[in-house]
Symmetry: C2
Subunit: 344 residues, 2 copies
Amino acid sequence: MRILDFLVMKDKILLGHGSGGKMSADLIKNIFVKNFSNSVIEALTDSAILSVGTSSLAFTTDSYVVDPVFFPGGNIGKLAVCGTVNDLAVSGAEPLYLSASFIIEEGFLIKDLETIVLSMKDEACEAGVSIVTGDTKVVKKRQCDKLFITTSGIGILEPKNDHIATGSTIKAGDKIIVNGYLGDHSAAVLMARNELNVQSSVISDVAPLNGLIKNAMAGNTIRFMRDITRGGLATILAEIVENHNFGIRIYEEHVPVRQEVKGLCEIFGFDPLYMANEGKLVAVVSPDSAESVLKKMRNHKYGKHAAIIGEITKNHPGKTVMESIIGGNRIIDKLAGEQLPRIC
Amino acid sequence: MRILDFLVMKDKILLGHGSGGKMSADLIKNIFVKNFSNSVIEALTDSAILSVGTSSLAFTTDSYVVDPVFFPGGNIGKLAVCGTVNDLAVSGAEPLYLSASFIIEEGFLIKDLETIVLSMKDEACEAGVSIVTGDTKVVKKRQCDKLFITTSGIGILEPKNDHIATGSTIKAGDKIIVNGYLGDHSAAVLMARNELNVQSSVISDVAPLNGLIKNAMAGNTIRFMRDITRGGLATILAEIVENHNFGIRIYEEHVPVRQEVKGLCEIFGFDPLYMANEGKLVAVVSPDSAESVLKKMRNHKYGKHAAIIGEITKNHPGKTVMESIIGGNRIIDKLAGEQLPRIC
């Protein structure tokens, strides 16, 4: 990029500001958190943790702009419900109520809208949540791309789970677990765009994880959870250790990635650690809970390929290091720039 | 419209589906409420009324797509905060927490985003709410028009105010009050689009109404409130009487409309009864509370031009009738089609 381009571009919103990685974090910090300043938003958790009356609530929102609207394994509506359910559930909350707001491009087929709404209904049913309120805006052709959905959600949080969103109890020795193959969602959406003439049978992993999480939490000590969406596993791990006196060590050979996705990553130059998922989470658990959490995840349909991929360590504080299959060590940082716009 | 056009169009989303009028109501009923079916969404209130723990909550969401993003008297961010605060407040709830989700077109100026965020901060501050969580998505150029914001809100609702969102206690003899001039927001946005070479000094009425509402409710019997946005006063009045054994009678000479807006309506062929507002509400109040509510509204900065415009009547059940200045009677129905797309 020439210097003049850079000077012009730095005043403007770039695709990277929506990546879920480093540029997103900077925008959130310098524009949103700075101005909306309050202790809840400053916690930078996926769900805000609120006191309302005598209850503790989790409250979250996400806009979905995935392109294309239909992809192998799901559609934008399924994504919107699962994404919001998962944001609440990884905070340790029980998801209860969702809102859904639709921005629709004039000319969008009503039968496609109904298909999408029906799959929202199915996912809400599976997750045990109710969609209780909504809004519809219609804009002219070329003022939005087909359909955007914003879902917000409310869950109830038991006080003993208050720490899960922030990870405030993480300590050295804790184990790091993911509930299955990374990268399936990104790969499926990429294939659906059909920009390169590559065929694949990979389908999105989009799923509501609150059932799996409830099972895994029962009787176990969970320190932290986060769903692995934009920015990928790498960005979350880098955020966990940021400004802390512990580091993370993970082992490439234990990180579950489907052979087919590995192949696609080689073709497209992607790294599964930075790919978005919509049915995957990372959990930090106490050493004595690790085997039990793993077993419970593997017994659930959304956790069959769960794996312990590493641990919290006193070494290299503030850094996440991956020991590669061929033996070297690589520092894992947040996603820089944008890997795949409109993945969710 | 030729028959062939009609056959093609009826399968597609039209601008009118986002009007807030009759087509919106049909879409909501036939697609959203039918599929998401639960008792909360079926109430068709602006805010969903929920039981969470031992509390009653109001929960609402709205997407804002106003064009242009900046207009006399406000911007999309001010609109998003006030709109959600007002949806909660007219349900009788005390607004507490907001989420804000941004869909931004690549290339949008960061300084414009910051101006918008600053005015969201100011409105949240005035309304006494905290913006506690959010999301940012960025799409490529021409995949959205500059900036869309979706806000959701949570408020706490005292059980004694449960009936205000549904209007279940409305009865013949109740008075109908609006808190000031109708049509200012629509007129201001229309002028900002500058499509016709007409000059005007009208500014949007966008404002958070929870303070005014709190004052008006104290010691008075409020049966129902609704903020007068898309679809205008007419659509709300038609909805109030729909399927009920009472009607509404309003008096044109008492409906407050600024002289300048009347003039613009004549030029553009608009009807102030169908125009969107962002700082106006209609309240149905018991006859013995009417003068007190009126006085309290007029003592508030957002209610100086409040007026009693009519009453609930046993006559013409299911119909809203306006007695015009020149003496005739006119039936007031919901907005048909779309008057002004992207007004909010």
